[in-house]
Symmetry: D3
Subunit: 315 residues, 6 copies
């Protein structure tokens, strides 16, 4: 966690903090030599800056993380940073949460609730599998950090966990109506259905699709992750592995939506419905929240929902 | 309710009951004159019959409901009815439940549970509307009798009520997760979404689509029924009527699935998902139940689900 | 009807008329205080204006109808209104024809021709139905005012009547070839097929889709209007009502074009073809008229016709 | 024209006529040697036959046209031909009208009406073109004989001319509404739009698609015929040729319906609509006529119209 | 390999061989007791049989592999086996090649040619990978035995290897034109693209899809196999693994054809084209070979190619 | 060929050359009268110009070819032409290669290679046909000049020949694998499949689709060209003509891709695949070449390939 955020900077403050360099223009000084007009950003906003010495910016590119020293000054009514020094920071040392949009609630609460679902799985085989995932610290770190999408829905740090929890709650609620469903199978697949997204996306400097994501997609990545975990669980039943792989594979529901196989048994069908419902509801909720308090009755055309959303009053 | 069902007839029993005439062949007697080989059916099965006097069958067609007197006799190892008299019965006086497949449980329990949902609607406007439907005895009679489909799912007497109840339970369960939904709106639309089916189908002698069903479909019929009821409720809010009509109209979800409008707000979207899920789950359940106890791993190709269903063991 | 139209204003003229306020910018006076740069519009055009007193504009929004007093002056080569007073006018008192694009011909002639088709209907039942519509002054007022579309074709006041008349002429001409068609049924459905558009659109300040239009569409609205009229006609035949409802419902021809049912008998099929042909021909005509006199051989890509139109000479 | 038709044969009649051999089975005589059980057909029906000498059938195949001599006898209540001689007839010498279903009206009247449309074409260029087609006796013979389809509509000898005339009447009627259309262009294209069908089908022994029809289709064949005729008309305008070729090419309306180009100007659009309407109306008419006098309310599923047709009474 | 095949049996021969029991009917002996009418099959044909002692058939089902002793006799002009003893054989001990259709050529030559392509791969990483597959005897056994499809093309034992070799030859030939392609990558992916089929199908008693095939499909199975092999190759480059997985994943070319990702670089695109071309050409070749020597000009409708194939002479 | 190209002009050079007038703005001189700011272009680039006498530009339009005299001067750091005279040049006298993008290699080598394929055709009939095309100087001139597309691939002068040669090489290579193909048929159809493009495009001033191209497309134009050539070859076999026409017609592969018929025999299928592969590979190659040397891993979205292309390193 950073100690200085852009939105909280005040005139006169001394700066010693990491930002993203978001603009860099080298200009001629009137008296010869060069200076640089720059801008910095973090997840709270942007601020302009000026560096009278342009040499310290020579090997730094827009998009780099930089450690900045300097002071905050006011210039024609706006704050800017008068830069003393700038140096590149290794992206590996960065906490993405400082720079990218993230879940507005407490992600630890979300993870705790997901663990609660893990604890509900009674049968030892699916339980061993879940434990092998959630006993893997690297996995848990990425799972609690990853977004669920680049643009459409849950496109923020923590979005994968938030979406997964919502799917689990919906599965739980639907099982109360369709009581013949295999609860352990459904909960296990619900937890794992999108795990491939931890590698499908990059979420350091920005949220984007990774090479692996573009070439394979989270469905295939998730299946490879599942196979890898199962390999270490001696005596894991073949048919359970097959059903879980099928549920991950078929959770987009139709071949033209990217699932090479349609859901072939009730649990797989329910998982597909719930995943689809949660993502569409999340899009609708975003539209409604964005317009709360306005007088508009209809949203703009939503390119993924392919319709305009009614914003009118409840009745 | 009839007092004599075909599956329960025994040798020597005197017959005074209504059946469907399911076969009629006039034959020459060896000594001149004619006799008739016939068969009768009700929802429990078929039985052959013989009528030595063929005159009483002259104006009766296969498919008619007939009141039969006679006796049950055995002939070459099988039971048959030796007919004394046959006379046509007005189809209007028939209880379809005696002749068509029906819900295997207690339909009164189903209706009671639906009434329970009506009682949950707090807001006076949607409640008045539901009361006007459920205070209409003709409506209630048809609603508790109608099937939900001709072939695909819930294709039996009572199927509409069974499907509606399942939809309501799913809506209720999903509202526990998406707590921002308008419960009164959702429950009211859930109860009414398929009411048009009471006129879309014929369910006297057989279950078939009516002329009105073929020409308009249950979505448009349902909307006309809603408009008619609202007309008698003074001061009913226009926007509530509009939202309910839209929810009935859009519950098939996509234009190519027969909804002229897509769901335009969250409650409409949820209703569509739940209706779709319940019908597909019912189809899967039927396939699984039909194969229970067999050794097959895969069903035949299902023309509506467009796939073969996995029948294997739970894990 | 207004007495002063913007396109006819001349320098020095005194203004006492209603316009739409189409621009409003409050500016500082050099000597303190404020003045307002404004603009007004009606269906004939736009004119700038200046109001040295900005107070009378405080509670007026862009888009409001306003009654303006003042004078027309010239300022750097262009006319503008020097405003004395501005006051909001109740939109209910406005004649939309003063402010929106309208049919270039005489709409009364169009209505008269439609009445001529009504008079051709011989059979008393469809005739009673048409009379109940055309004896309803509110309906006639809206029917002769409504557009037939927001953007694509006949998107002007009176467009609905113009399109309806063209459809009737086409039906009449086709019946001369297919002489087995039921003329009364076809003419009646032709007159009524788009009546739902009087509520599908708003056409006061601008032409836009109404809430009811977005949620239900003109097909469902039209069927509700038909059911309402029929309810007051004692002894109206059920099957005629059913056929007319079906013809309204199916006139878009295919499920994916928004008709929940396809046309199921010849008259319904012909109505669909004629409606489709008239709207496409109107689009082509508009393209050709727009380019008349230019040297272009091909139009731009037309997003609804999904092609470029050939503009070359006749041969 | 034949002088003896199967439906008119009577016991004892001497036979000297051409039929199609429709069955041939060689059997052992009880006393050694062979005889043949045969059957013959023409467009009026079928009749069995027997040939005690099987040698004269050795080189004759089922499907061949054969000249038969013999007598009509009755055998166990049915007529049959006792054959004296059978010899193959060259298919080139056959009049297909004797053996295939044909237009029930007078095809000469149809052709006369089409000539009437040719005479309406005022402009010398399109008129010269039509005259070059209709002055070509081979073309006229085939045009008046060809079917318009193998199965779907107008699938009988003369069907092409009947369909063409109906298209022309519809074009004429629509021009009375859309008076800006180029009448000469439209009539000329209307007459020529399906001429390629004279080579797309075979219609000697049966109605089937020819090799050329399967490989090229009537649209491309028709365009080649048009180009060939135009080549002999000196000074024929390039743009008229281009428009006519485009109208033939685009008359199926959409790429997925087999037209490589969509209609690009109003006359091409109208031709497509009229061609489509006439073929669909013909299908509906056939369904209605087939069920005239029955009590059915609905037809079977029609595979080309993709719906069941309503057969109910007019209202 | 068996030593006795059904097509080579002769009268009087003593039988000691394994067959499939393809028919079993128990009949009453006239003198009390039972006998059995049976039939046996292998890949060369069928033969009837009779077992006067029916007891030895009690626990044997149609479809079982059975070891039969007895003699070949003639009965009313046909050969049959007079059975002495029948006993079930464990399906695991069966060589499927004795009982299922297989490649008509020498599968060892095909495998040798594929090894020739392996040898062409120069770069050590892809070469190590291929060696790890082809050094695995179980893999090689299954790869040389598996079919490439259940019904459509190469639906015989050895079909996978035959198709793979054809794909490799096409890739090789196309690389001679597009010389910028990465040969090692293309050959490696060409060899591995369908390896998942060794588990997608069952090919013991009959050729059918396995549970794993139905639930995952050969694309996902193949990717799991690849990942497993790569895991044992230390230092295998990540990007090569990614490209090969992508090429397996995308070789069906479009999402709606079952590839979750489209080909994203030239080698992946070429592999898709070649796989598609080879399977379609194989279907066409089968149609042409089946009709060789007949007089037909056109095949029946082919359900996978969705057309009728022209069978005419070469020119 | 021009002697002066814009990219080679130098300060002080005297100009006597033809260019395209690409900009023309008339301005007021301070002392009265007018001057013109202009720009000129050829295939090597653009240059600004000034003409103090605007009269000589009165009847000249942007887009015209103009012969310019004047001098090259420098003005604020950039070269411009100070114009003495400008006069329109007849477009017929222009060599399009001077003004449009063209093949970067030697088009004569490409044509020579295509002639090499012609020489491989052994059978006299297809050979006569090819000779009649390539013995026609006008055809050869247009064929070696035409582009293969307006935008997508091979969209430069010579593109048709380059694409045709690539198709021929692919056909040749594939025949080495599928040795049952008719080589003469395939090579002949390969050479002729796109000849209609010489009239589908205009390629004088710019590359655009011609009227004939828009209305008919190259498939139909090519078939008309083929029919015209065949007409002059006495005794040309009907079935060869039919197969070649079919191969031209079906080379887009599917009805929805603009081929009214699907490929119906192996040679037609192979031609379609090869044409499709070559155009897609050309698009991929263009993307890769455009990004050579950049650090990007992924291209922008490609609207025709409908994907982003991977630009990463070879492995």
């Amino acid at each position: 966690m950073k100690s200085q955020y852009i939105s909280e900077l005040r005139e006169g403050q001394a700066i010693r903090e990491t930002f993203v360099l978001s603009k860099k223009t080298i200009k001629d000084k009137r008296d010869g030599g060069y200076y640089a007009i720059v801008a910095f950003s973090d997840r709270t906003g942007n601020i302009d800056g000026i560096s009278w010495d342009s040499d310290n910016l020579t090997n730094i590119s827009v998009g780099d993380f930089v450690f900045v020293t300097g002071n905050v000054a006011e210039y024609s009514g706006r704050l800017q940073i008068v830069v003393n020094s700038v140096s590149v920071v290794d992206a590996e040392k960065i906490d993405a949460r400082d720079f990218l949009p993230q879940y507005s609630g407490d992600i630890e609460e979300v993870m705790k609730a997901i663990h609660g679902f893990v604890a509900k799985v009674k049968n030892s085989d699916p339980r061993r599998l879940l434990d092998s995932f959630f006993g893997d610290k690297d996995f848990v770190d990425m799972f609690s950090l990853a977004p669920a999408a680049k643009l459409v829905h849950h496109a923020y740090l923590g979005g994968l966990a938030v979406h997964t929890l919502s799917v689990l709650r919906l599965l739980q609620s639907i099982m109360s109506v369709f009581d013949f469903l295999n609860a352990d199978l459904l909960i296990t697949a619900g937890i794992l259905h999108d795990v491939g997204k931890i590698y499908e996306y990059k979420y350091k400097k920005n949220i984007d699709i990774s090479d692996r994501g573009r070439m394979l997609g989270h469905i295939v990545i998730g299946n490879e992750m599942l196979a890898e975990k199962v390999r270490h669980l001696s005596g894991f039943p073949d048919d359970l592995k097959l059903k879980l792989m099928h549920m991950i594979l078929s959770h987009h529901g139709e071949v033209e939506w990217g699932s090479p196989k349609q859901p072939l048994f009730p649990e797989a069908l329910v998982l597909h419905f719930v995943d689809n419902l949660d993502s569409k509801m999340e899009m609708m909720k975003q539209v409604l929240e964005k317009h709360r308090g306005t007088e508009r009755q209809w949203s703009d055309y939503h390119p993924y929902l392919e319709r305009e959303i009614y914003l009118g009053d409840d009745s």
